[in-house]
C-alpha cells in the first residue's frame, strides 16, 4: 500500500516538471512582455524600460532564466509577482481560500443533486420523474455557466435587496456551479446503476428478497466508483478556480487571478498557478483511485 502510494506520488514529478516547463516556454517564446504592459500607460523612456527588464531578469538568455527558475522552484520559491512585488505563493494562497470555500459548497450541491438525479432517472419511482430528471441532466450539460449565473442574479435581484448577504454571496454561485456539475455526475450515476442492475450478485440479492434502500446501497457501493471518479475530476476543476463564476458574481478567486496574470504576463504567478492546478488534478485522481479501492475489495489487488 505504502509503496504503491510512493510510486504514484513519484510519477507526479515528471508530469509536473513537463507542464511547468511547457508553460515557462509558452509564456516567454510568444510575443509580448510583462514590461510592455507595465509601462504601456506610464510612458516611460526606452532606457528606463530596458533597465527595468534587466532588473526583472528578462534580458538574460532563456536557458539561464530557466535554470534559475528551476533552482528557486525546488526550494519552494516561485518568485515575486512582476506587478505587485509580493511572493506569488502568498498571492495564490490568499486567493485559494475563497476558491476552496466556493469549491466545497459547489461540490456539495453537485454531488447531492447529481446523485439524486441519477438515481431517480435509473430507478423510475414514478412515471413523470424520469423524463424530468433526464431533462434536468441534459440542461445542466448545455447551459453555459455564464448564462445560469446571470439568470440567477436576475431572478434574485427582484427578491432580495442589492446588498447581498454573505449567504447569497456563497450560496448563489455554489448553486450555479453545483447545477453545472450535477449533470455529468447524474449521467455517470445513471449509466453505472443501469449496467449494475443486471449483475448476478444484484439479481441474487433480489431473489433473496432484498428491496428498497438495502438493495440500493448494495448496488451503490460498486456503482459509486465511477461516480467518485467523476466527482474527483470535477473537484479538481473547482479547486483550480472558476473564472466565469468569479466574474459573474464578482468574487475573488484563482480563476480571475489566472486570467488577469495571463493577460499581463505575470510569469511567476501563472507558473505557480499551473503547477498548483496540475498538482490538484493528479492528487484528486489519486484520491479517487484510493477511494475506489476502499469501496471495491476487488480493486485492492492493484495495491500489492
Amino acid at each position: 500500500m505504502l509503496t504503491y502510494l510512493l510510486r504514484r506520488l513519484l510519477a507526479f514529478l515528471p508530469v509536473l516538471w513537463a507542464t511547468v516547463t511547457l508553460v515557462f516556454l509558452a509564456l516567454r517564446l510568444t510575443p509580448g512582455d510583462p514590461t510592455e504592459t507595465l509601462y504601456a500607460e506610464a510612458q516611460i523612456s526606452r532606457e528606463q524600460l530596458a533597465a527595468n527588464r534587466a532588473a526583472l531578469g528578462l534580458d538574460r538568455p532563456l536557458l539561464e532564466q530557466y535554470a534559475s527558475f528551476l533552482s528557486q522552484l525546488v526550494r519552494g520559491d516561485l518568485g515575486a509577482s512582476l506587478f505587485t512585488g509580493r511572493p506569488a505563493t502568498v498571492t495564490i494562497f490568499e486567493l485559494f481560500i475563497p476558491t476552496a470555500e466556493l469549491a466545497l459548497a459547489g461540490l456539495t450541491v453537485a454531488f447531492s443533486l447529481g446523485l439524486a438525479l441519477g438515481i431517480l432517472s435509473a430507478t423510475r419511482p414514478a412515471a413523470f420523474v424520469k423524463p424530468f430528471a433526464s431533462a434536468l441532466t441534459a440542461l445542466s450539460q448545455s447551459l453555459p455557466v455564464a448564462w445560469t449565473g446571470l439568470l440567477s442574479l436576475w431572478l434574485t435581484a427582484g427578491l432580495f435587496s442589492l446588498n447581498a448577504s454573505l449567504l447569497l454571496e456563497l450560496a448563489l454561485p455554489a448553486l450555479v456551479l453545483g447545477f453545472a456539475i450535477a449533470g455529468p455526475i447524474a449521467g455517470v450515476t445513471r449509466a453505472s446503476l443501469a449496467t449494475l442492475q443486471n449483475e448476478m450478485y444484484i439479481v441474487a440479492a433480489r431473489a433473496r428478497g432484498v428491496t428498497g434502500w438495502p438493495l440500493l446501497w448494495h448496488i451503490l457501493r460498486v456503482a459509486l466508483i465511477p461516480i467518485v471518479n467523476m466527482t474527483a475530476l470535477q473537484a479538481a476543476f473547482l479547486f483550480s478556480g472558476t473564472v466565469v463564476t468569479e466574474t459573474v458574481f464578482a468574487r475573488p478567486g484563482l480563476g480571475r487571478l489566472l486570467v488577469d496574470s495571463l493577460l499581463r504576463k505575470d510569469f511567476p504567478v501563472v507558473q505557480g498557478l499551473v503547477l498548483l492546478i496540475a498538482g490538484l488534478y493528479l492528487s484528486f485522481n489519486l484520491a479517487a483511485d484510493l477511494m475506489a479501492a476502499a469501496l471495491d475489495p476487488r480493486l485492492r489487488a492493484r495495491f500489492q
Partner: protein, 267 residues
C-alpha cells in the same frame, strides 16, 4: 426525436450563411435614441445600450459563434484522431511516449490550456477557435486510442496481420473504418464543448472587438444592465443553450458515463 435538434442546427447553418437576408438591421448601427428598448414588433429582441438591434446582432453572431466552434472542432478532431490512431497502432515504445505526452496535457483543465494559448495568440475569433481546438486534442486522442485498441483485438484485424498486410494498410482499411462510428460520437461531444468553450472565452473578452458580435460577447455586454434590460443577455444565452442542447441530443446517450475522465466543465 432527433428531428428537432437537427432542424435547429440546419436553421442556424442557413442563418449563418445567409445572414443579410434575415437580419432586419445593421448589427453595428448605433442609435442612442433607442437605447435599451424592450422587445417590440420593431425590435424583435429589443436593443442594447447603444441602441443596436439585439435580433440582428444575434443573427450576425451565429456566423462568428459557429465559425469559432467549427474551427475548434477541426483543430481538435483531425490531429486528435491521427494521434489516437498512431498511439493505438504504433509499436510499444512509441505508444508509451505518446501516452506520456497526452498524460501531461490531460493533467490540466481544457479551459486552462485554451486560456494560455489565447493569451499568447492575442485576442481574435481565430485565436479563440484555435486555442479551444488545441486544448481538446489530448482528450480526443485518448478516446480515439481506446477505440483503436478495442478494434485491434478483433479477429479480422488479427487475420489481416497474419496474412501479412502492411500495418499502415490495416489501419486505413480495417481500423479506421470500424472506429468511424465512435469517432463521430466523440466529434459531436467535443463540438458541444467547443461551442461552450468558445462562448466562454468570448464572454471573457478574448474574441476581440465587441462591435462585431458573437453570442459569448453579447452575453457579457448584457451583464451591466441585467435588471433593467435582461433581453440583451437572455437572447444569446438562450441561443447558446439551445445549440449545445441540440448537439448533445444528436450526440445521444453515448456521452453518458463513458467519457468520465474527459468530461470538460466550463465554469
Amino acid at each position: 426525436m432527433k428531428l428537432i435538434p437537427f432542424a435547429w442546427l440546419a436553421l442556424l447553418l442557413v442563418i449563418a450563411l445567409l445572414t443579410p437576408v434575415f437580419a432586419p438591421y445593421d448589427p453595428t448601427a448605433v442609435n442612442p435614441a433607442q437605447s435599451l428598448t424592450a422587445p417590440s414588433s420593431q425590435y424583435l429582441l429589443g436593443t442594447d445600450l447603444l441602441g443596436r438591434d439585439v435580433y440582428s446582432r444575434l443573427l450576425w453572431g451565429t456566423r462568428r459563434t459557429l465559425g469559432m466552434a467549427l474551427l475548434a472542432i477541426l483543430v481538435t478532431a483531425v490531429p486528435g484522431a491521427a494521434l489516437g490512431l498512431a498511439a493505438g497502432s504504433a509499436g510499444e515504445g512509441w505508444e508509451s511516449w505518446l501516452m506520456r505526452g497526452l498524460e501531461v496535457a490531460l493533467a490540466l483543465p481544457q479551459l486552462l490550456i485554451a486560456l494560455v494559448i489565447v493569451a499568447a495568440l492575442g485576442q481574435s475569433p481565430w485565436a479563440v477557435g484555435l486555442a479551444v481546438g488545441a486544448a481538446g486534442i489530448a482528450s480526443f486522442a485518448r478516446l480515439a486510442r481506446s477505440t483503436v485498441q478495442q478494434v485491434r483485438g478483433q479477429a479480422y484485424v488479427q487475420a489481416a496481420e497474419a496474412l501479412g498486410m502492411a500495418p499502415a494498410q490495416i489501419v486505413l482499411r480495417h481500423v479506421l473504418r470500424n472506429i468511424a462510428g465512435p469517432l463521430a460520437a466523440f466529434t459531436t461531444i467535443h463540438f458541444a464543448w467547443a461551442i461552450l468553450n468558445t462562448a466562454t472565452l468570448s464572454f471573457l473578452g478574448f474574441s476581440g472587438s465587441p462591435a462585431a458580435p458573437d453570442w459569448g460577447t453579447m452575453l457579457n455586454e448584457g451583464r451591466a444592465y441585467l435588471v433593467t434590460a435582461p433581453w440583451v443577455s437572455a437572447a444569446p444565452g438562450a441561443a447558446i443553450t439551445l445549440t449545445v442542447l441540440a448537439v448533445n441530443t444528436l450526440g445521444g446517450a453515448w456521452g453518458e458515463g463513458r467519457h468520465r475522465r474527459d468530461y470538460n466543465t466550463v465554469g
